[in-house]
């Protein structure tokens, strides 16, 4: 994958992620982690090669199909990306409203997912009234509310102190234990080492290490 005015951002790589797996995507800053996640969410299109996500072929995705893909993905960012003029509840509800969920089902679903991330009592708070860790939990709740089979997290703990960081990571592990596939980009090796999850290490746009050592000819995530 090459950026319009850049060189190849990620190249020569091929991997497959199974349903319900937890995968770390590691590497130094600029290694290409975010690029991989953007490719998976069709925010970027591969300039070469093939990429399949949950039955969608990213290279051939039409503009109409992108929203369909996105509804099968939950995406979490380092900077939370919450709407500042909406409460935690409204931020989460937004993800349901936008996808045309039945209005009468929204409050219950929002409450359920806020409870899941441990914020049942903070639903009425605005992002500025929440700690970083709490804001990221709102971000995760928003990503989860549509029950996606895949959760993508780009440095989800990058802006958090150690304690919040551990809490958020534990939450992601719990979510994965519930059957959701989690792909988490991070450069915090402390988190990576504390578990036995699969690790994909990037360096200068290439995959240099796969703890599963299972390389398959097609580049892909499913």
């Amino acid at each position: 994958m090459a950026y319009p005015r850049g060189g190849m951002a990620v190249k020569d790589l091929s991997f497959r992620v199974a349903k319900g797996e937890f995968v770390f995507l590691t590497g130094h800053s600029g290694a290409g982690k975010s690029t991989i996640l953007k490719l998976i969410s069709a925010d970027l299109r591969p300039t070469h090669g093939e990429l399949r996500v949950s039955g969608f072929s990213i290279g051939e995705l039409t503009a109409r199909e992108v929203p369909k893909l996105r509804r099968r993905l939950g995406i979490v960012f380092q900077d939370f990306r919450l709407l500042q003029d909406r409460t935690a509840e409204e931020n989460v509800a937004f993800a349901l409203e936008v996808t045309g969920a039945r209005p009468d089902t929204i409050p219950t679903r929002v409450h359920r997912v806020l409870t899941q991330v441990g914020l049942a009592s903070r639903g009425r708070a605005y992002p500025t009234e929440l700690s970083g860790g709490e804001q990221q939990r709102v971000g995760i709740a928003r990503a989860l509310v549509n029950d996606p089979p895949i959760l993508l997290a780009d440095e989800p703990t990058g802006n958090l102190d150690e304690r919040s960081s551990r809490g958020v990571f534990q939450l992601l592990r719990d979510i994965n234990a519930g059957g959701t596939c989690v792909v988490m980009a991070t450069h915090e090796l402390a988190l990576v080492r504390q578990t036995q999850y699969r690790v994909l290490e990037m360096r200068e746009g290439s995959l240099v290490f796969d703890s599963a050592e299972e390389r398959i000819a097609t580049e892909g995530v499913s």
Binding site: P67, R70, R81, F94, A95, E97, R142
Partner: protein
């Protein structure tokens, strides 16, 4: 309340200055169109007044039997272009001449023989008061054997025609120019709104909103601003109209304001400008967010 309206109100509330700016720019653009419109409406009304004087005079040969004239009058009155036919006999012609041409009053009084011929005064229906129709009717009247001469002031009718066309043309061009300006301004303000809401839009995208869904509030927003701008423009036009009417010392007491259907058209135009501006701008800028 539907999601669409809620999101639209949110966008209004979040950017009150920008919203106010959009509405006032639409209002002032439409107001300018409105002022030219008022001038055009009143000019047309004035021209209409003048055009009632478009008249064809058919002078008759002396000694034409009255029955022939009556029959011919009926024939002419049945022409599709003709509104009315009035017969003016020699005596009436002389009386009129003495009244209207005061300078010649004495000359006419001393006459032993009336030199003026009898005539048929033919007026045309409103939509036919132009040079071409007048000439066509005149030619047909000339065909009657007892008609000596036909006059209809061709030159000034042609001048009236040109004036009418010019007024319509200038009004249209200026109107379109200002409408284009308004569309551009709306486009710019919508673009600013899109940029201001770029983050929100990217988050909507992220959670799987379709482009149609994202566009919805912007379009409603634009249409609403157009509507409010249109209403404001009408208020401004009315105010300007009253101000002008009160301060005008000329004899123009019959100044006209727009008819309700023109006002409705103006509002519709405002909505169209708002929608058009949003459509163009949202289509172009959403892709770059």
């Amino acid at each position: 309340m539907s999601l669409l309206t809620r999101e639209t109100i949110r966008s209004f509330r979040r950017a009150p200055m920008l919203s106010a700016l959009s509405i006032t720019t639409i209002a002032f653009s439409l107001f300018t169109v409105g002022l030219f419109g008022l001038v055009a409406v009143n000019m047309r009304e004035a021209l209409r007044g003048i055009s009632t004087r478009v008249q064809i005079e058919a002078f008759l040969l002396r000694g034409t039997p009255p029955e022939t004239i009556t029959l011919a009058s009926q024939d002419i009155a049945a022409f599709p272009e003709v509104e009315a036919v009035v017969y003016v006999d020699e005596d009436q012609a002389l009386q009129r001449a003495q009244q209207e041409l005061v300078e010649f009053k004495d000359a006419y009084r001393d006459l032993q023989v009336n030199p003026l011929p009898a005539s048929l005064q033919v007026t045309l229906k409103e939509e036919y008061r132009d040079a071409a129709s007048a000439a066509a009717v005149a030619r047909r009247i000339e065909g009657f054997s007892f008609v000596d001469d036909v006059r209809f002031g061709q030159e000034w009718i042609e001048r009236l025609d040109r004036l009418r066309n010019l007024a319509g043309f200038v009004g249209l061009v200026i109107g379109l120019a200002f409408a284009a300006v308004a569309v551009v301004i709306i486009g710019v303000t919508i673009r600013m709104t899109v940029l201001q809401r770029a983050r929100e839009i990217s988050i909507m995208r992220l959670v799987g909103a379709t482009d149609a869904f994202i566009r919805g509030p912007f379009l409603l927003d634009g249409a609403l601003k157009g509507l409010l701008g249109g209403l404001l423009a009408i208020l401004l036009s009315r105010a300007a109209f009253e101000l002008f009417r009160r301060n005008s010392t000329t004899g123009l007491h019959t100044l006209l304001f727009f008819e309700p259907k023109h006002l409705a058209l103006g509002i519709l135009f405002g909505v169209a400008i708002g929608l058009g501006g949003s459509l163009v701008s949202v289509g172009r800028h959403l892709r770059n967010v």
